[in-house]
Amino acid sequence: MPDDFASQSHIRLGSNSGKPQTRLDGIAKITGSATYAADNAPQDMIWAVHAGAPAARGKVVALDTAAALAHPGVIDVMTPENRPELAQDPDARAEFFAMKIDVLQNDAARYAGAPVALVLAETLEAALEGARLLAPQVEAEPARIGFGSSEPYEPPFVGFGSPAKTVTGDMEAGFAAAAQNVEVEIETPPQYHNAMEPHAIVAQWDGDRLILDTPNQAIVMSCPMFAAYFGIPPENVHIRSPYLGGGFGSKAVINAPQILACLAARQTGRPVKLVLGRSQMFGPVGHRGATKQTLKLGIDGEGRLTALSHHAVAATSAFDDFLEPAANASLNTYACPAISATHAGSRWDIGTPGAMRAPGEASGSAALECAMDEAAHAAGLDPLEFRLRNYAETDPASGRAFSSKELRECYRLGAERFGWAGRPLEPGQMRDARGRLIGWGMGTSLFQAPMFRAEARATLRADGTAVVETAAADMGQGAWTALAQIAADGLGLDLAQVEFRSGDSKLPDAGIAGGSGHTATAGSALFSAGQDVVAKLAALALADPDSPLHGAGNQAVTARDGRLFLAADESRSASYADILASAGQEALTGNGEGVRNPKDAEERAMFSHGAVFAEVAVDPDLFQIRVTRLVGAFAAGQIINPKLAESQLLGGMVWGLGFALHEEGIHDPRTGRPVNGDLAGYHVPVNADFVQIEALTVPEADPYVNALGVKGVGEIGITGSVGAIANAVWHATGRRARRFPIHVEDLL
């Protein structure tokens, strides 16, 4: 990243943005002084632990509540029989983001691990033992797990309201024009977010006010959702969520254990703490649903796509719908005259899936990039050359111009850094000194660059320092830091002069930390709040006969280092503190909003792009796969903090390796119970899995996404990486991945 990158942008971000500022909450986190939700222990608090259904489909026929109640320390057991009323039907999906949840509304078991009772006790140990003593029994029917287990159905939409079926162009004509077709079928398994911090809540009632310490990715938006279950006004819910130990989408929607804890707190009149055990995270808090994807690519004699059809069967629960919008990954990536992206649903007896880091794009791009690799080989072209021939100059799905797209530069830089040139077309051609098969593969990365809506407030204080406020969520991605940098720039202050308050629902709504749109959205609000302060200050100064800026009329002023300067004559300036003092004001508040210009949103397609290159070394008879190099080059608009952006991109690539080689939620095909519901069995990558991994960014100015030119870096790293690794494995071994993760027996 060039140092002067910030100045290339159309907007003069100040000197704080663009700096690799170390995360401001880092010390608090590593020294343990950062209070995560479960660290709270209010006076008089009790513990709640839920017992989970031991089978995925059936009816709970026995619960030994007497045994649990007899255990010392157990206070109460909540079951469907005595569960207090809720003000909202948990199966109603009263709101778009309110998924159906299992909060003891009846005796049905709809997935393994669904809450069937809640034990309240004076200690965690007693609550755990009480839950064990309940020994729930289920009259079970065979679980439906796997794509063969139920008839596919046609969903009304996929993901959060994305179309289930999109066809552009004439598919028939497209395939008719093809010199050859490539067909690929790929399965991806259920994957579980497994944030390091388990879901936790400390719930307390003060009259009809509900105070919650709970990690949350959409702090203000969640208040009305909690309120609806308890029949209280949204403003009576106070969520405190200063730190999250990872969210990845699983902390964005309300889950059943949280609601049960709130109920228990209301019923007992005591604060209640509930913390999920690791194994309890394999059910009630969402996951990435399994997919079975079929792609058919038509290519002409020159290696150009003539038609691209991508069909994804996506698994969801038996009772609710969240379908991984996997096929939609094919809508915006490559130029093609005819594209069809369609979905079907498959009902399994499993917890309802939800958004998990790059929902849709991760699974869909994995399959698309594998298919593109096969097509390149069929066309006799280098995979990079093939992608360049199918480079989309405009958005293939909508025909709209891209707001910016430096993907060509990503391809160039990534390939150069990796040393892609000279790659043999055929597989199995390269070996290292130890005789391992070497393969190179690549994938294109793509992720939407959305903006939601956010508000922020900035207050300048008499001493010239400021406090800025917005209810943003730092999931570990670094929002505390990057957003503070933007806020400081909006105010023309140094980062150290700005106190950043966040993570609390009493603050202005920062929208959701998700969809890779948080920095863009909350950042825009913060920046404009700062600019609002500056504008008000300027008005004061210009009107003040004693001010060096007096009488400047409507000449431009610039804000920098806590002073306002006359743009045309920088010798005329006044400090913020002086301006406030002369005006006799203790403080000055500005407000800002972050929202995308509707015209730009309408006219432009907005995405981050990238290219990932992978090298693998594969043992020729034992087929152990070593990813020896992983290089990604990404264009994601203005980079606010290169250090944090790099760690987000690397984290995404790490996740991509896990997707390709490790992550797999296994459910017993008969009972539906998780078979590997802990971190010893559910593998994610470890440090030793990486030899060389590198994320580069490419400068990209984007005047349309928002005034800051910011896109997002949170999710894109996964896309591209999965395919790159699978394609490298093929290039080494000649064997194509047909399912993820790639198992050794698939290569033997």
């Binding site: 031991p54 089978a55 010392p72 140990e125 755990l128 033992e129 064990r132 055990g277 194994s279 000194a433 130890r434 005789g435 070394a617 043992d619 008879d621 034992l622 152990q624 070593r626 020896t628 080689l661 490790h662 296994i666 017993d668 095909p669 008969r670 009972t671 119970r673 078979v675 590997n676 010893a680 069995g681 593998h683 990558p685 470890v686 440090n687 030793a688 899995d689 030899v691 198992h743 050794v744 027996e745 033997l748």
Partner: protein, 351 residues
């Protein structure tokens, strides 16, 4: 979790007395026992913490040349002991290929021997499992069993023993020193873990009320130090149990294998000593052909117990590879990734 009584006896006699309660369990580092208690798989009424027992935290050489390792020696300390690692390099390599540094710091020698299978159905109190609840059935049959046994299994149980450490120990003819109410006895490690047969709930040769006091390695085992390797296939580069693993120690004289010590891990309910293969290899030239032939003998009785036939192929190839790696000489230093084929820095892991 369930309430229990916690005792920390100061002498062996006190410990054995405390363990006479059939619902008592010995505690080593707790890295396995506590997990099983939290899962509701183990529910002892009494925990007998062995930590204070005198003399069990030592590595010593007995008058007859045997190496004796006390049951309380930590996995990490044993692997780092220069004398021990020099004499039994593949044991050190196996230890370091297991679990994580934090777990190895806590795990004891006795606990490692006694650790339970990682079969998911054993760990799930709601599943049918003959090993956990005699006669209840075996949900692993017909369930998720990619990782299960290909040797020595029975229709009653197809679980594997998860220890890395025990594999080279079985190969080298180590013995477990066991103390109980009726005195002390020695059991060869290759027979310490029981094959399931009809009674998978009996996992080891330990009788109720007995404890493992120590391990003994014969003096002759050190004679293999120059050509000994432990290699382990796993589903990520570290911090994962073996899919299959192999220990191979060779005594090579003039290019001929004078004696071999071979064992496989991850394939059976016990570390699988490959005696027939050892015999077949003795006197043969130390070549890839001999190793392949011996490996094929080792797996000749293998059969899948589910979706795990691939393990037979892998185990055979890995065993041959491990012999080749051993023949190439024990590395002068412990590889950066012990027991791993993923070591990019080290020497070629195969000839």
């Amino acid at each position: 979790m369930k309430s229990f009584e916690y005792l920390r006896p100061e002498t062996l006699d006190e410990a054995l007395a405390a363990l006479s309660d059939p619902d008592a369990a010995s505690l080593g580092g707790g890295t396995n026992l506590l997990d099983l208690m939290k899962l509701g798989v183990a529910g002892p009424e009494r925990i007998v913490d062995l930590a204070r027992l005198p003399g069990l935290d030592r590595i010593e050489t007995l008058p007859d040349g045997m190496t004796r390792v006390g049951a309380l020696v930590r996995n990490s300390d044993l692997a780092a002991d220069p004398g021990f690692a020099a004499a039994f390099p593949m044991v050190a390599e196996a230890l370091l290929s297991g679990a994580s540094a934090q777990l190895r710091n806590a795990a004891t020698v006795g606990g490692n021997l006694m650790q339970a299978t990682r079969c998911a159905y054993f760990q799930d109190p709601f599943a049918a499992c003959n090993r956990r609840a005699a006669g209840s059935g075996c949900d692993a049959l017909g369930g998720a069993n990619r990782g299960h046994a290909v040797l020595g299994w029975s229709p009653a149980c197809i679980a594997v023993h998860p220890s890395d450490f025990c594999v080279p120990l079985a190969a080298l003819g180590a013995e477990a020193e066991i103390a109980g109410p009726s005195g002390t006895r020695l059991v060869p490690l290759a027979e310490f873990h029981l094959l399931p047969g009809e009674e998978p709930h009996r996992a080891t040769a330990l009788e109720p009320g007995e404890i493992v006091l120590a391990l003994r390695l014969p003096a002759a085992a050190a004679g293999f130090a120059g050509n000994a390797r432990y290699l382990k296939l796993r589903e990520r580069t570290s911090y994962a149990f073996a899919v299959v693993s192999a220990a191979a120690a060779l005594r090579i004289e003039d290019g001929t294998v004078a004696a071999a010590r071979l064992a496989l891990g991850g394939v059976a309910a016990r570390p699988w000593r490959c005696s027939e293969a050892e015999e077949a290899l003795a006197g043969k030239p130390a070549t890839a052909e001999s190793f392949a032939a011996a490996a094929s003998i080792a797996l000749s009785n293998a059969a899948p117990s589910g979706a795990n036939g691939y393990k037979i192929v892998l185990a055979e190839r890995l065993l041959a590879r491990t012999m080749a790696a051993a023949a190439a000489g024990t590395p002068a230093e412990m590889p950066a990734l012990p027991g791993s084929l993923m070591d990019d820095t080290g020497e070629a892991a195969h000839a």
